[in-house]
């Protein structure tokens, strides 16, 4: 839904893409997609190919080694395995012959068609965007290799088959490896029509493939942005104004420079960086500098101020997200009417790899070593700040030590460029964990008012949902913020898996003063599923119906949703008794093109502390690429969701964030982790996203389980143990 809106908003307009192929420098075949402006529709190899020759989706060298230049970056979600699988499937090569490489910045070559053609890794969109293009590129390469072999052998292409990186002529028992064919293949025209395999022919797609990034991640050789090392490089520690929007008043450079190893002090408007031979010296220098900041106009801000403004804003009419029937009329005439307010806190991302960026500014431009979800956006932003050509900014992307939306932002990349601009050597800026937590761009505080009406039989007949909070799209992707409506803000609230006859959703934009807001794992659907699926439980309770049965009835015309609901109930032993303060709760979502039902089983201690004992998840994400990744991403999303549901909260006092590290921004540890059981529905429907749904469905499942265990309905996150204490 969100993706459609981005496209509708103009992101994808006139971005026609064409398959191109040609010879790689130094020999070999390259195949990829390029935008119409730089493509030749005929697929000829001369002039048009020059623009995309340096890199493409697929490179095959003379040894037959296949390199997939991945348009999406790897941040744990398994994309560096699942995208190459698409190529390997159609190219008929073994995954062990495939390597993966980071893509340089270019919307034109690596833009995700599902994200308006922007080179962004996010929104659980990698497979959805590249499922067809990458397969087509693989199929085109295969066809060209087959034709080259046909010429070489003097046979008709129809007599040839391919397997394991070889073209095979069964009749004459001859085999030619792809490597021996690449130079001839590169001279051939790109096929204009391509037959892709039918699902019944898949031998890679749908089977568990080993992660291509596994080995380097268990022996310490994997390179994340923070691991960049360059000749002459120095390390910077940085202190940023603790109040958002504040400025640097003073910093004692002399004291900093007196610390052994400190080389330089670089002042920015809102920060000071101390540059040294190693991080510890830089950190000690920063302490010695004793920076003083002027907080500016937000220096008194508290969380309560933000919430009060949101509550006031919730009295305004919003931009309509969806309207069907007459919700107000149906509510007025409903037998039973419920109305609730739900609140979502500010959240930090807290990726394991603290924010960092390495930059060298030189006479011929700027080199940046970083892990980013938005290489092309970052390139543009830095080129503007430095006042140089976009092409002079070279982004060297790295593995991401967690993204979760934090690395969709380039604030820290621009900042590092400003620091490096003052130095003559490459500078690696490393944020302390405290800076990372206190200068995140936060998932915004949201405030929702929701009401529903039941008829005399307990049937849901009316639904009215007002969503109030910051618009991330207005800043991040202005085209997707139209007439006051933020498409992400209502995502997961407007396309429910249920039939509700009178339905109304609107959105009121209200920005927290000075607080930077950003996407967070699961984006709109995570915020909205918590409200929608909690409220569905409230309605079930008011209708005196079992929450599972209530959902099943509402989804009776939606077979995919109904199936995951029924399977989750069966697998979780729904309805069987639990002893003590234990309970089960269900949630179901349709988001990112994926149907997912989760059942959480919780124990509530007398102290009110909640433990999630078990989570059952049944997912229908359409055609599965790598089932092992689907399972891993659900496990991951569930754990991520539990941290946020139980403890996740960023609060403000005196204009600054009160949390600072893992001791006060608590996240789940292994001894607190639940048992997780996952079932994947076999399907040939279009593939859905899988990086985020597991998180989106989690909070309401847990809150509904808490209600089942205690009878207490919580409408504010995170869970407040005091409300659950046993008297």
């Amino acid at each position: 839904m969100l993706l459609d809106r981005i496209k509708a908003a103009g992101g994808g307009v006139s971005r026609r893409r064409f398959l191109q192929a040609g010879a790689a420098f130094g020999g070999g075949l390259i195949v990829g997609w390029v935008e119409a402006a730089e493509a030749q529709e005929t697929g000829a190899v001369d002039a048009g190919v020059t623009a995309f020759t340096p890199d493409a989706f697929i490179r095959i060298d003379r040894e037959g080694k296949v390199t997939v230049v991945s348009p999406s970056i790897e941040m744990g979600q398994g994309t560096y395995t699942s995208l190459p699988m698409l190529v390997a499937e159609e190219l008929d090569v073994d995954m062990s012959e495939v390597a993966v490489a980071h893509a340089p910045p270019s919307d034109k070559l690596y833009g995700n068609p599902a994200l308006g053609g922007a080179q962004i890794t996010g929104g659980s969109a990698a497979i959805r965007g590249f499922y067809k293009p990458l397969r087509e590129a693989g199929a085109a390469a295969r066809r060209m290799l087959v034709r080259a072999a046909a010429t070489k052998l003097g046979v008709d292409p129809s007599e040839l088959t391919t397997a394991n990186g070889q073209v095979i002529h069964a009749k004459s028992a001859q085999k030619i490896g792809y490597g021996a064919l690449v130079d001839e293949a590169a001279k051939l025209p790109v096929p204009t029509t391509l037959a892709l395999k039918e699902p019944s022919q898949f031998r890679v797609i749908g089977t568990p493939a080993k992660r291509l990034d596994g080995p380097e991640k268990v022996n310490g050789t994997a390179k994340f942005g923070i691991d960049a090392q360059l000749p002459g490089m120095k390390i910077a520690a940085i202190a940023i104004s603790p109040v958002f929007g504040g400025t640097l008043s003073s910093a004692n450079a002399r004291a900093a420079l007196a610390v052994p190893g400190v080389q330089q002090v670089a002042k920015l408007d809102d920060a000071v960086a101390v540059i040294a031979d190693h991080y510890w010296a830089a950190k000690k220098g920063l302490e010695a500098a004793q920076p003083v900041f002027d907080g500016g106009r937000h220096a008194q801000l508290t969380t309560a101020d933000v919430v009060a403004a949101l509550a006031k804003a919730s009295e305004r009419d919003g931009a309509v997200g969806k309207k069907e029937g007459d919700a107000a009329g149906a509510l007025a005439s409903a037998t039973t009417k419920l109305e609730s307010t739900y609140e979502n806190p500010f959240l930090a991302h807290a990726t394991m790899e603290p924010i960092n960026c390495t930059v060298q500014v030189s006479d011929d431009g700027c080199d940046i070593w970083v892990g980013t979800q938005v290489p092309a956006n970052a390139q543009l932003a830095v080129s503007k700040v430095l006042g140089i050509d976009r092409d002079s900014v070279r982004i060297h992307n790295h593995l991401l030590g967690g993204g979760f939306g934090r690395r969709l932002e380039f604030d820290f990349i621009v900042q590092a460029a400003r620091v490096a601009q003052q130095a003559k050597v490459p500078i690696k800026v490393i944020w302390s964990r405290e800076e990372d937590i206190q200068h995140d761009m936060y998932r915004p505080y949201y405030y929702d008012k929701i009401s529903g009406g039941l008829d005399a039989e307990g049937k849901l007949v009316a639904w009215k949902h007002r969503i109030v909070g910051s618009s991330i799209m207005a800043r991040f992707f202005p085209a997707a913020f139209k007439d006051g409506l933020d498409s992400d803000a209502v995502d997961g609230a407007v396309e429910l898996p249920y039939d509700i006859p009178n339905f109304f959703v609107d959105y009121v934009r209200e920005e927290p003063p000075g607080i930077p807001t950003a996407f967070w794992r699961g984006v709109g659907p995570t915020r909205n599923a918590y409200v929608v699926e909690s409220f569905i439980d409230e309605l079930a309770s008011a209708a005196k119906k079992d929450p599972f049965e209530f959902r099943r009835e509402l989804a009776s015309n939606n077979p995919r949703a109904r199936h995951v609901i029924e399977r989750a109930a069966a697998l979780s032993n729904w309805g069987t008794p639990l002893t003590g303060r234990k309970g089960r709760g269900m949630s179901v979502i349709f988001a990112f093109g994926t149907y997912l039902a989760e059942v959480a089983e919780v124990s509530v201690a007398d102290s009110g502390e909640v433990h999630v004992d078990r989570v059952v998840a049944v997912v229908d994400c359409g055609q599965v690429i790598n089932p092992d990744t689907v399972e891993a991403q659900l496990q991951s999303g569930i754990i991520f969701g539990i941290s946020a549901t139980l403890w996740g909260e960023i609060t403000l006092k005196d204009g600054r964030v009160q949390q600072s590290n893992f001791d006060d921004y608590r996240v789940l540890r292994i001894d607190e982790a639940p048992k997780i059981e996952i079932e994947i529905v076999k399907s040939e429907e279009a593939p859905g996203g899988i990086g985020e749904p597991g998180t989106s469905a989690l909070a309401p499942a847990v809150l509904n389980a808490v209600y089942a265990a205690t009878g207490v309905r919580l409408r504010k996150l995170p869970i407040e143990a005091a409300q659950l204490r046993s008297s």
């Binding site: 022996n219 031979d277 790899e353 030590g401 967690g402 092992d628 496990q635 754990i639 991520f640 001894d671």
Partner: protein
């Protein structure tokens, strides 16, 4: 100048005594497998072994390990338990973003050095100091058990 042994090699580093071992390993010796996560001993990403015992290198002054044996993720594969843990990690596809995994593997190897058949409680105790934001805990638990079997059978 402080002398220490890292993965069997003797090195001398020109840093002040209080410099944490983490930054000596990463920024002075240029070995980047050991990770910075929190700086306060909360997350375990920086875990190394000192004379075979797990230590948080972000809180360990380098002078504390002068003339001791330090093992990092780059060297742990040379030990029986370390190799078994790395193999099980790959076999069960534990890693996701991978940033915390150096520390996880160092902690897991230390558990198996003590006891190749750890109970769930042993694993909880030995691993609860290592945070993983990707939530690989379910697979970590299984992989430690599998690695333990390999250690015990050799």
């Amino acid at each position: 100048m402080i002398n220490l042994t890292v993965n069997g090699s003797k090195v001398s580093v020109p840093v002040e005594d209080h410099t944490p071992l983490l930054w000596v390993i990463r920024d002075v010796l240029g070995m980047t497998g050991t990770k910075f996560g929190c700086g306060i001993g909360q997350c375990g990403a920086c875990t190394v072994h000192v004379d075979g015992e797990p230590r948080r290198s972000c809180l360990t002054p380098v002078s504390d390990v002068a003339d001791h044996d330090v093992t990092t993720i780059e060297g742990i594969g040379a030990t029986k338990s370390g190799k078994a843990v790395q193999d099980a990690w790959l076999d069960l596809e534990v890693v996701q973003c991978g940033y915390c995994q150096s520390g996880q593997i160092m902690s897991a190897a230390a558990i198996l050095d003590m006891n190749p058949e750890p109970s769930d409680a042993d694993i909880d105790q030995g691993m609860s100091g290592n945070i993983c934001r990707c939530g690989t805990y379910v697979r970590i638990r299984e992989a430690i058990k599998q690695a333990g079997k390999a250690v015990a059978s050799k």
